[in-house]
Amino acid sequence: MPEIHAPLLDMYRTMLTIRRFEERCNALYMQGRIPSTLHLYIGQEAVATGVCAHLKDTDYVLSTHRPHGHAIAKGVAPRDIMAELFAKATGCCKGKGGSMHVGDMRVGMTPAIAIVGANAPIAAGMALAQKRQGEGGVTVCFFGDGAANEGAVHEALNMAAVWGLPLVFVCENNLYAASTSFEAAFAIEHVADRGQAYGIPSLIVDGNDVQAVYGKAGEAIERARQGGGPTLIECETYRLCGHSRSDPRTYRTKDEEALWQEKEPIGRLAATLERLNLATAEALDHIEKEVVAVVDEAVAYAESSPDPEPTDTLQHVFWGED
């Protein structure tokens, strides 16, 4: 029996916002209107959405080079992200960050860290601060299967366990580190198998089932809030797009992609909503229109925003000295 208490409609809207945002980014890039490279989150929306649905603005998320979905799910305004992708002065990083560093600390979205695995020890530090501050704050560190082989992640897993930090490690195993398959980079079947080695409760969840992600992430986040320490959650998912903009995906078979297209998370949630009579096709269509309007507005805002000044390059090297 599905968890009908989960905010399914809200999560549907968030997932659809991520999907439509990313599709629009792709189109804008193809038209030459976005100067940045892009690592799109298409296909993985259920992970960020199901996890972040439990988080408050005072909780922290640490993201990766593929951060748009995490940022939207954590509450960063799509227009602030889009303006950053357009390299505008109004972007969430004032044009200094670009696609791979979007964030907004006002909602707990740490500027994304694009060195693979480097976010994990920083997440441990943020969780250490939250533990010391004693206000029940939690940090979530998203990383990919590729990052799971970085030493930084292992040091962070160990420290989080030793210190019992309120830190939830969410590994989005999308089966490929750029073009390198999971099988080529691991001698074990699951990333989660490594959690036990550090004394961290670890589990595997269907990352394309937002209800499942929501349920398991909720348990882990609540345990962290209550002082129960870290958890490692491996979310099995698949990016339904290339690694980055110039990726024809010739390292994957069309059959494999078709298989995962059937498990695509948004269509699955739509079917669930209709089956449970939580939303009619008409209601979902209405959400679709609202989501598209949000993305339209984000693009209009970004396009009409001013460029930074060339000499803005010199600002923000040091805090408080501009």
Binding site: P111, M126, Q130, V162, G320
Partner: protein, 344 residues
């Protein structure tokens, strides 16, 4: 005023900052273990008894983790002081120190601050190549990172306090031969510069150098141990009638270049002494600044006295050859003065 070693002055500074601000804490390997060393050079000795193990936080041997935890804790509202056992271990955490800590404010468009301190002992001290390097130049090349290098007990405490209160990442280089660490952690050949250190609250501002000895014939710029090599050389030169001015920049980033330029305008000659390797070293940057901004005040080519372009050796006789000596400084000054120096 109490006379303290640098290790004692740093400890006093840390204690005062921890008492002043509950957000301040120390993190590192072997810094608070009961019966342990108090860090590799006794700086945090006894502090875990005063403040407890939450605020003198011992870590696993995980340099990437230490750096990342320090950065994250700073971003989330604490004021960490990280202890690196040897400056050479900074290379283990290089991504965190280059790509993360100093770029966070910039990449976020000035919305995130990283008020962290990292302390790292440097200098060649009979430990072979991997516990010996003076890697300052690597870190002066990173925009967004402040770098300080105190050579006296007074400056060590004052700069540490400034660093803790700064809202940017600050890397403090400390020289192993200057700590004055006692007991089993004392160093062979240490200078142990004991200095008067006020017990009250004071800071030494980041970015301000100091003239250690006034002179008129030549400017010698040194840092950490080589400040003392320069002062020793100045004593020898004085016996020969040569008046050397010795400058200790104390902060490497941002550099008090006006202090150096003002001295060169007076003396017309510049010798830079450092323990780092010659090629790509910090001395080269100082030379470039003075060449660009003080060229017409120079009466002779700038001289650099550095370690040779080799890893630090182990054998004491080779180490003595490697680390710049007062004699090499004297030779460089005489070369700068040229053939006619003896007649003036």
């Amino acid at each position: 005023m109490a006379k303290l070693t640098i290790a004692e002055a740093l400890r006093q500074g840390i204690r005062e900052e921890m008492e002043r601000d509950p957000r301040v804490f120390c993190v590192g390997e072997d810094i608070g273990v009961e019966g342990g060393f108090g860090g590799a050079f006794t700086v945090t000795l006894g502090l875990s008894k005063e403040f407890g193990h939450e605020r003198i936080l011992d870590t696993p041997i995980s340099e990437i983790g230490i750096a990342g935890v320090t950065i994250g804790a700073a971003m989330a509202g604490l004021r960490p002081i990280a202890d690196v056992q040897y400056g050479d271990f900074l290379f283990c955490m290089m991504d965190q120190m280059v790509n993360q800590a100093p770029k966070m404010t910039y990449m976020s468009g000035g919305t995130v601050k990283v008020p962290m301190v990292m302390r790292a002992p440097v200098g060649s001290t009979r430990r072979g190549s991997q516990h010996a390097q003076s890697p300052e130049a690597f870190f002066t090349h990173i925009p967004g990172l402040k770098v300080v290098a105190p050579s006296t007990a007074y400056d060590a405490k004052g700069l540490l306090k400034s660093a803790v209160r700064d809202d940017n990442p600050v890397l403090i280089f400390e020289h192993k031969l200057l700590y004055g660490s006692k007991g089993p952690r004392s160093e062979s050949g240490a200078l142990s510069p004991i200095g008067e250190v006020p017990e009250d609250d004071y800071v030494v501002p980041i970015g301000k150098g100091i003239v250690r000895r006034e002179g008129t014939d030549v400017t010698i710029v040194g840092k950490l141990l080589t400040v003392y090599r320069a002062l020793e050389a100045a004593d020898q030169l004085a016996e020969e009638g040569i008046s050397a001015e010795v400058i200790d920049p104390r902060t490497l980033v941002p550099l008090d270049k006006e202090l150096i330029l003002a001295s060169v305008r007076k003396t017309g000659r510049l010798v830079i002494v450092e323990e780092d390797n010659l090629t790509g070293g910090w001395a080269g940057e100082v030379a470039a600044i003075v060449s660009e901004e003080g060229f017409f005040h120079l009466d002779a080519p700038i001289k650099r006295v550095s370690a040779p372009d080799t890893p630090p050796p182990f054998a004491p006789v080779m180490e003595a050859f490697y680390v710049p000596s007062a004699e090499r400084v004297v030779q460089a000054v005489k070369a700068s003065l040229g053939e006619g120096w003896a007649r003036t």
